[in-house]
């Protein structure tokens, strides 16, 4: 990817104003000629700041080389395509995931300093030339920084979304116990978003498993308010539309008090004390009879 030497296509857009082509050429050539010393300097500065922690020397070497060349590429072509591609690739490879915000942004800011200082050194004798060089270089440097930072943040957000989704799904399993019977253990706080998901999952499971009875156990629900109670009633009603009966179990003393006090209409809800009782009730509805076998009832030899 580095040093493709694409012909400049949109220099003016890259620098924000009309930078003389020759000056840009000069800058690109300067950064390429001094690639090794400048890159060394950058690596040393990052090491000093502790920004390379967690990276093997080999990784630091390859990543820094690629970033260095990518930046020059952007300056050369006047487009940020290569920076975009590199940042995306880095995100895909999980490189960004293992690094801290400080490492990513700190590293890029350090590189900008290194480039900037090398320009100072080079054009020290001609302030006018230095000003022109900085004018050409700075917007490009800032844009690269923005591209990388954005890719980093997007990746983080994507991971967070993924994890939220995973937690939500983990927290509401729909379990099939026997043909026709599902168990929905609800653990933790319920909000409207989660009830939506829970109901959605339950309805699909009822259809997929051809369930006739669902035992919804709320032993693990710490508290309910009128909104949550109404959500529960909705879930029960929706299941009924698919021909399934819902039995609610595990209503704690506190929740029982709350529900009656706030006056939620529970007349249409079947409730049984605990999960075991709920399953027994479900078996009855489904026509199952549990028979304890002789072997199981005989004393077990240790």
């Amino acid at each position: 990817m580095p040093n493709k030497n694409r012909r400049p296509s949109a220099l003016a857009t890259a620098t924000g104003k009309e930078a003389p082509d020759s000056l840009l050429r000069e800058l690109v050539a300067h950064f390429r000629d001094n690639r090794d010393p400048l890159r060394r300097q950058w690596l040393e500065m990052m090491t000093a700041k502790g920004l390379l922690e967690g990276l093997t020397p080999g990784e630091a070497e390859t990543e820094s080389a690629t970033i260095y060349d990518t930046c020059i590429d952007c300056l050369d072509t006047g487009t940020y395509e290569s920076a975009q591609i590199y940042a995306t690739k880095m995100a895909e490879r999980g490189v960004l995931r293992g690094m801290t915000t400080e490492q990513i942004l700190g590293g890029m800011l350090t590189l900008r300093d290194v480039y900037g200082r090398s320009l100072f050194d080079r054009y020290l004798s001609s302030p006018a030339r230095l000003a022109a060089a900085l004018d050409a270089y700075e917007p490009v440097g800032n844009n690269i920084l923005a591209v990388v930072a954005l890719a980093f943040i997007e990746e983080r957000e994507r991971v967070v979304r993924q994890q939220q989704e995973a937690i939500r799904e983990l927290s509401t399993p729909v379990l099939r116990v026997r043909p026709g019977l599902l168990i929905l253990p609800i653990i933790g706080l319920i909000d409207s978003q989660r009830t939506r998901q829970l109901t959605d999952q339950l309805l699909r499971a009822i259809r997929a498993h051809r369930a006739k009875v669902v035992v919804m156990d709320i032993t693990g629900v710490p508290a309910v308010d009128s909104k949550v109670a109404n959500h529960m009633v909705q879930t029960v009603d929706a299941a009924r539309l698919l021909g399934a009966t819902v039995i609610v179990t595990g209503v704690s003393p506190e929740i029982a008090q709350t529900l009656v006090t706030i006056g939620v209409d529970l007349s249409k809800m079947n409730t049984v004390g605990d999960l075991q009782g709920g399953i027994e009730e479900a078996d009855l509805l489904l026509g199952y009879r549990v028979i304890v076998g002789e072997e199981a009832s005989a004393p077990q030899e240790q």
Binding site: D237, A238, A239, R240, L241, T245
Partner: protein
């Protein structure tokens, strides 16, 4: 679109084939009320599997059909409500109180058979 009504043993099966207008639904009601007497049917299954929307009018009409058929001596089971449709109905605040629902045609007929086997002459008004 007219809803075809099939006679199968002691039952009538109304199998909805596509989106229905209000007029189609009212016609279904008339047809079922008439045919249930003509064929001396003991049960009716209304299959709504293909409906992707059941709004307040459709729900109310199905509920009324179920109650009217009961007065004509036949049990009604509404089968095949899609999960997404059920969810939307509930959010809208619609219930099918007074009507029996079942997962699909097979379950619906099984429900009617069960009532018949036990020599039931009257029909339950709710699925639970």
């Amino acid at each position: 679109m007219q809803v075809p009504i099939l006679k199968q043993r002691h039952y009538l099966i109304a199998s909805i084939q596509g989106a229905l207008t209000d007029a189609d639904l009212l016609r279904l009601c008339d047809d079922l009320l008439e045919q249930v007497g003509k064929f001396r049917s003991q049960g009716v299954v209304i299959d709504v599997t293909v409906l992707d929307v059941m709004d307040s009018f459709a729900t109310r009409t199905l509920r009324s059909i179920s109650q009217m058929l009961k007065l004509r001596g036949a049990g009604t089971v509404i089968v095949g409500i899609q999960p997404d449709v059920a969810f939307a109905m509930i959010q809208l605040g619609l219930r099918l109180e007074g009507a029996v629902t079942a997962l699909d045609l097979e379950e619906g007929i099984a429900f009617l058979d069960k009532g018949k086997k036990e020599g039931q002459r009257t029909w339950p008004v709710s699925s639970t």
